[in-house]
């Protein structure tokens, strides 16, 4: 799965995107966040304030309980501040 990061989430993870093979038991966005937190200190720091992180699946906003399903791309970012 292709994983993208934006704004301070990107800065903390230290990369714009990465492609990961996910274990079979990672079924929801919340599962994925737990999995990413375990990868290294950078990911752990990025997802520390878990409530402050927004998620998009295939470029549509979703909540943490959303099923990853057959999505090709997931993105993590802080609350939006455009406009």
């Amino acid at each position: 799965m292709n994983i993208r990061y934006f704004a301070w989430v990107r800065e903390r993870v230290g990369k714009e995107e990465e492609t990961l093979e996910l274990p079979a038991d990672v079924k929801t966005v919340a599962d994925l966040i737990s999995h990413l937190k375990g990868l290294d200190d950078y990911h752990a720091a990025a997802f520390e304030e878990e409530d402050a992180i927004r998620v998009a699946l295939d470029q549509e906003h979703v909540e943490a309980d959303a099923e990853l399903g057959s999505a090709r791309e997931v993105a993590f970012f802080p609350p939006m501040t455009g406009g």
Partner: protein, 153 residues
């Protein structure tokens, strides 16, 4: 036939006048045009620029979804949304929304709705670069933006 919104995400500046002309030229059914222009502001004089990061692809897709909601909700004759990215110095344009309608109230409400939803849902993030060259900081989302957006639900 439903109106097709014009959605643009670009680094370059825009011309509100040219965009207004696209929505009105050669037509006699537009009675009201409400234009919102958001500019980079710096009352304290400490900002060298705002840097706008965006999620290419999703930015356009989400702005289109918001615009289509507005078109479904109000009788519009046209709707344009332009959002810039990259470094934007104080005094320059950031965002443009134009809602065109036969009726004044529809144009006002659609433009207002669009800005509220854009602020809370379109994937753009602002970072402040300071004149002093000190560490740049991400702008924090404001609770009042969520409250503004909730007015429409």
């Amino acid at each position: 036939m439903p109106v097709k919104p014009r959605i643009v995400v670009q680094a370059d500046d825009f011309s509100a006048q040219d965009e207004a002309r696209l929505l009105t030229e050669g037509r006699k059914d537009v009675g009201a045009l409400v234009t919102f222009t958001g500019l980079c502001r710096d009352e304290a004089g400490t900002l060298s620029a705002l840097e706008l990061e965006h999620y290419p692809g999703m930015a356009e897709a989400e702005l289109t979804r918001i615009a289509e909601q507005a078109i479904e909700r109000w009788p519009l004759t046209g709707l344009t949304v332009i959002h810039r990215f990259g470094k934007i110095p104080p005094g320059e344009n950031i965002v443009l929304v134009i809602a065109a309608s036969s009726h004044r109230r529809a144009a006002f409400e659609a433009a207002d709705f669009l800005m509220d939803y854009l602020k809370t849902r379109a994937p753009f993030w602002k970072k402040e670069h300071l004149v002093t060259g000190g560490e740049s900081e991400w702008v924090e989302a404001r609770d009042c933006d969520d409250k503004d957006a909730a007015r429409w639900t």
